[in-house]
Amino acid sequence: MATIHPIPAGDVPALQTEQLSVYYGSNPALRGIDLTVPRNRVVALIGPSGCGKSTLLRCFNRMNELIPEARVEGTVRFNGEDLYGERVDPVNVRRRIGMVFQRPNPFPRSIFDNVAFGPRINGNTTGLAQTVERALRQAALWDEVRDRLNESAYDLSVGQQQRLCIARTLAVRPEIVLMDEPASALDPIATQRIEELIYELKEDYSILIVTHSLQQAARVSDYTAFLYHGELVEYGPTDLIFTNPVEERTEAYVTGRFG
């Protein structure tokens, strides 16, 4: 059984899973996850490779559906609504719950067009230039690219590309941002910039971040969930998970004894 530490009363749930399981074909990737992500908080998902962190993340914007063999059971609620309800369009889900990937994946077009992509497909083209500027400022990239918005996104450094991808996500004005190891392809300086950014972004967004780096989880997150073999082992406030975990496996992992 998992140990779920209580969430302080002031925190409003934004995302909630109940007995969430995911199968790839007949292989279970996640089993019976109960997790609550509070609004305007950063939640880190940690655990060894293959424990299901990324799979869990992808349940929240229904990206798993793009994998033909994947099957999702249980419920995921977003502001109380069933995310997998019959009348819910996954396209709408993804406009409200954005995602940043492990490797920067800018589109092969200009910096401006990358950020403008989301607003354009949503038909929000009034004030597009301001929307793009605002998103780039939020992603702490504006000062570096303001004079070269029409250059190809591929001319940016990898770290800048990842901030561009964050800006691209923010331009759609999502409520929640999912981040799948957003700094794993970056050097330490670029990583630090992303972490500072996450800290600033939680003013406006709820952030769910998958990370391999325990230090990163400890630095940026308010809550931490430890997953192991597709199960949620322990979930609670980050300082508690790192300093005084209840589960033996959590303690072993956060002290570096395995994983």
């Binding site: 990206m63 993804r94 954005g98 990937f101 490797r103 994946n105 589109f107 092969p108 497909i121 949503n122």
Partner: protein
């Protein structure tokens, strides 16, 4: 001898010289290498021989007729006296059929490729891919009679005034023939677009169509254009369908309803007849071949250049 000891004896190191072993292997190696080089050389020799023959015979023709009148004369009448040899009517006929074929093949081929690469599940692909391959494997003579016996009567029932031999029917069927080429080359270009770009667009709330249209298609544009050009080149070189269904009237008209002679159809007509060697009609064959060869060569080279120059490099 006890059982099990033979093995040990077999592994005794031989005293054979390393040099003899090497030279035996080296001789075989040299033979294989020479054989492979000869095969490669044969291809080159055949090509060179072909091109030289073309240049030689076409040269005779051009000396006789004159390059300017070959390129600019508006009539192609080898059978008349005086005969006139302007390539333009054959070129117009060829491009007319190729244009009709493109109108059929490019949209259908492209949409098929988008479907196969972005929409189709495994079952639909397993059904559609072999069907397309079958389409690509049908002998062109079958396509030719299909045009003449099925498509032309169907067209005549809709469009009165269309001739029995006409460019439209042949063009449509050439188009059908090159659909698999357009679709499979375009699909390859689509599949080369990394999954991560699609994921990025999906995560922003793009629909499947928006992902295909705004991300995959632009990213694969150079490959798609190259596919179009290669298919066009194939349509220009197609012979049997036009020889059977398009007729043999060389003219400058763009009307798709009338009989039209293409360069390839003229070549067939001339080589089937009893044109004596060395006559000007005989040599005209090579001049047309040369034109056709240069045209398709230019198209193939363009297609390769486009792929090289405009290829998106993903990181």
């Amino acid at each position: 001898m006890r059982p099990g000891t033979e093995g040990a004896h077999d592994r005794t190191p031989t005293t054979e010289s390393l040099f003899t072993a090497r030279s035996a292997g080296g001789r075989r190696e040299r033979f294989v290498s020479a054989l492979l080089a000869a095969s490669a050389a044969a291809t080159v020799l055949v090509t060179v021989g072909l091109v030289l023959t073309l240049i030689f015979e076409a040269g005779h023709f051009l000396v006789e007729v004159g390059l300017l009148s070959f390129l600019l004369d508006s009539e192609w009448t080898p059978g008349f006296r005086p005969a006139r040899y302007g390539i333009l009517p054959l070129l117009v006929g060829t491009l007319k059929v190729a244009a009709i074929a493109s109108v059929v093949a490019l949209p259908i081929g492209l949409l098929t490729a988008i479907y196969l690469s972005e929409y189709a599940d495994r079952r639909a692909r397993a059904l559609l891919k072999p069907l397309l391959e079958t389409l690509a494997g049908i002998p062109t003579v079958v396509y030719g009679y299909f045009a003449l016996i099925v498509v032309t009567p169907a067209l005549r029932s809709v469009l009165p005034g269309i001739e029995v031999f006409n460019a439209l029917s042949a063009g449509i069927v050439v188009g059908i023939m090159i659909i698999p080429m357009v679709s499979s080359l375009s699909e390859d270009a689509f599949r080369a677009v990394p999954r991560s770009l699609r994921d990025g667009a999906f995560a922003l709330g793009a629909t499947r169509f928006e992902v295909a249209w705004r991300i995959v298609l632009p990213a694969a544009a150079s490959g798609v254009v190259a596919a179009f050009i290669l298919a066009l080149s194939r349509a220009i070189g197609e012979t049997m369908i036009v020889a059977i269904a398009a007729g043999d009237l060389a003219g400058l008209s763009l009307d798709p309803r009338i009989a039209t002679q293409t360069m390839t159809a003229y070549i067939v007509q001339m080589s089937l007849g009893d044109t004596p060697r060395g006559t000007i009609e005989y040599q005209s064959l090579f001049a047309v071949c040369m034109t056709l060869f240069l045209l398709t060569l230019a198209l193939n080279a363009t297609s390769q250049r486009i792929v090289r120059r405009f290829r998106t490099v993903y990181r």
